[in-house]
C-alpha cells in the first residue's frame, strides 16, 4: 500500500467517532475514513454506491484498534475491485473483528496505559508540589500528554501499516504480543507508583506541627484522618464515585464542625 494512502487513512482515523450515533455508532466515521480509497477503486458510480452502502451498517470498536480493521477492509475492497476472490466479505470482517480487537484496545489503552500514565503524572505532581518546586508544575501535563501519545500514535500508525502487509495474519501477531501480560506488568508498576505518591502525600500533609489536630485532649497527626478516609474508601469503593465524593465532603464538614 502506498505511503500517502496509509498516511491519509491514519489522519482520517481520528474522525472515527465524529458522528457517533446511538443507532449505528461509528458507521459514518468509518465510511469517512475509507471514502478516498473507495472513490479511487470504483470509478463507476453505481459500483461505488454499492461499495459505500456496504459500510453504512452498525460498526463499533476501540478507536485505536480500528486501524487493524480499516487496513483489512481496504485490502478486501481492493481485491473485490480488481476482481480477485475474497475469503471474507469486507462487511463480515468489520462485524467479526470489531468485538475482539475492541476488547484488547479497551483493556490495554483505557484500562492499563491511560491509568498508568496518569499515576506517573500524579506521582510527579505530589513530588513537585510538596518536595521540589511548584514552578515546574507544567512538567506534569506535558509529561502526561507526550508519554501517552508516543505509544498511542505509534501504535495506531504501526497497526495500520502492518495490517496492510499481514492482513489476516495480523490477528496472530496481536495474539503473540502478550498484551494481557504486558497489561499486568504495567498495572503492577502503576500500583507501586500510586502507593509511592500516597506515601509522599501523607508524609507532606499528614505529619508535622501544623497538621496536628486536637482529639479528646490529645494532639494527633492528620495522617490518622487520612488513614481513616483511605480505609472507608477502600471498604466502600465499589459505590458510585459521585456518591462517595459527596460523602467525603460531608466527612470534612463533620470533622470541621466537631473542631477536629
Amino acid at each position: 500500500m502506498k505511503k500517502n494512502i496509509v498516511r491519509g487513512l491514519f489522519f482520517r482515523s481520528f474522525f472515527l467517532q465524529a458522528l457517533w450515533n446511538f443507532e449505528r455508532l461509528q458507521n459514518i466515521g468509518f465510511l469517512y475514513i475509507i471514502y478516498p480509497v473507495i472513490a479511487g477503486l470504483y470509478k463507476d458510480k453505481e459500483k461505488r454506491k454499492q461499495a459505500l452502502l456496504r459500510h453504512i451498517g452498525f460498526f463499533n470498536t476501540n478507536p485505536y484498534m480500528a486501524s487493524v480493521i480499516i487496513a483489512m477492509v481496504v485490502t478486501a475492497e481492493q481485491n473485490i475491485a480488481e476482481g480477485k476472490p475474497v475469503s471474507v466479505k469486507p462487511e463480515a470482517i468489520k462485524s467479526m473483528m470489531a468485538g475482539p480487537v475492541a476488547a484488547i484496545g479497551d483493556s490495554f489503552f483505557w484500562g492499563t496505559w491511560r491509568p498508568f500514565v496518569s499515576f506517573v503524572a500524579i506521582f510527579l505532581s505530589v513530588l513537585l508540589i510538596n518536595i521540589f518546586d511548584i514552578n515546574y508544575l507544567w512538567i506534569v501535563p506535558v509529561w502526561f500528554i507526550v508519554l501517552y501519545n508516543i505509544v498511542h500514535l505509534a501504535f495506531r500508525y504501526w497497526a495500520l501499516s502492518v495490517s496492510f502487509s499481514l492482513n489476516e495474519k495480523m490477528i496472530e501477531l496481536i495474539a503473540k504480543l502478550e498484551i494481557s501480560f504486558i497489561g499486568d506488568v504495567f498495572r503492577s508498576i502503576g500500583l507501586f507508583i500510586i502507593v509511592a505518591a500516597l506515601f509522599f502525600y501523607v508524609y507532606s500533609f499528614g505529619f508535622g506541627p501544623t497538621t496536628l489536630i486536637s482529639f479528646i485532649n490529645y494532639d494527633i497527626p492528620e495522617a490518622i484522618i487520612f488513614g481513616l478516609i483511605l480505609l472507608i474508601t477502600f471498604l466502600f469503593g465499589n459505590t458510585k464515585p459521585v456518591i462517595l465524593f459527596y460523602c467525603a465532603l460531608i466527612f470534612s464538614f463533620i470533622f470541621a464542625y466537631l473542631g477536629l
Binding site: 457517533w20 450515533n21 471514502y35 496518569s118 502526561f144 500528554i145 470541621a256
Partner: protein
C-alpha cells in the same frame, strides 16, 4: 468577562470533543486539561490539584460502547475557571467550585445524550444522500456532527460558567460560618486522599506477574 468566558467556553468545548468526537489524544483528561486551563488563567497549582482529584476519583470513567459517562472535562474545566478567575488561590472556593461543577456535569451529560440522538437523524440524512448519489454528504454530515458538538458544548460551558459565577459570588459574599470555610479547607487535603483510596480500590483484584496466587 463575558468575552473571556466565551473564548474559554469555545476552547473548553474543543477539549471536550477529544473524549469521543475527535482523536482521543487524552487532552480531555482532568490531569491534562486542569493544569492547562490553570496555566492559561495564571494558577497552574489549583488547576493541577483539582485535575488530580477528578482524575483519581473518576479513574474508570471512559466511554465504552454505548455508555455515555459523566463528562470529567466539563467538571474539571468549570471548577478550574471559577476558582482561578473569581477568587484566585483560595482553597475553600476551589473545593466549593468542584462540588458545584459535579451536578452541572451530570446535567450536561443529558444534553450530550440528546445531541447524540440527533446525530442519528444526520446519519440517516447521509445514508439517504449516498443512495441518491450525493457522496459529499459523508464529509458534510461528519463535520456537521463535529461542529454541532463543539457549538452546543461551548454554549453549555458558557451558560454554566455564568450561572456558577453568580452562585459562587453570592455564596461567598455572605458571612458563612467559619466551620464551613474550615471544612472546605480540610476537604482540599482530604479529597486527594479519597482519590488515592478510589485508585487503590481498583487494584483489589490485580494479578502481579511472576507471583502465583
Amino acid at each position: 468577562m463575558i468575552i473571556n468566558y466565551m473564548a474559554l467556553s469555545f476552547l473548553a468545548a474543543v477539549f471536550s470533543s477529544d473524549i469521543t468526537m475527535f482523536g482521543q489524544f487524552m487532552i480531555s483528561r482532568p490531569i491534562f486539561c486542569g493544569p492547562f486551563f490553570g496555566f492559561l488563567l495564571g494558577d497552574i497549582h489549583t488547576g493541577l490539584w483539582l485535575g488530580m482529584i477528578v482524575e483519581m476519583v473518576w479513574i474508570n470513567a471512559i466511554p465504552l460502547g454505548c455508555a455515555v459517562p459523566v463528562d470529567l472535562t466539563f467538571m474539571t474545566i468549570l471548577s478550574v475557571i471559577w476558582s482561578t478567575v473569581l477568587f484566585r488561590g483560595s482553597q475553600e472556593i476551589a473545593v466549593f467550585a468542584l462540588a458545584l461543577a459535579v451536578p452541572f456535569a451530570y446535567i450536561y451529560k443529558e444534553v450530550d445524550f440528546a445531541g447524540r440522538l440527533f446525530n442519528t437523524k444526520v446519519m440517516h440524512w447521509v445514508e439517504h444522500g449516498i443512495k441518491n448519489g450525493k457522496e459529499k454528504r459523508i464529509s458534510k454530515g461528519l463535520f456537521f456532527g463535529l461542529l454541532f458538538f463543539i457549538l452546543r458544548t461551548a454554549l453549555m460551558y458558557f451558560l454554566f460558567l455564568l450561572l456558577g459565577s453568580i452562585i459562587i459570588k453570592k455564596v461567598f459574599a455572605t458571612d458563612i460560618p467559619i466551620y464551613i470555610v474550615l471544612a472546605l479547607k480540610k476537604a482540599w487535603y482530604y479529597l486527594p486522599v479519597f482519590g488515592f483510596g478510589m485508585v487503590l480500590n481498583n487494584f483489589k483484584n490485580i494479578k502481579i506477574p511472576f507471583i502465583k496466587r
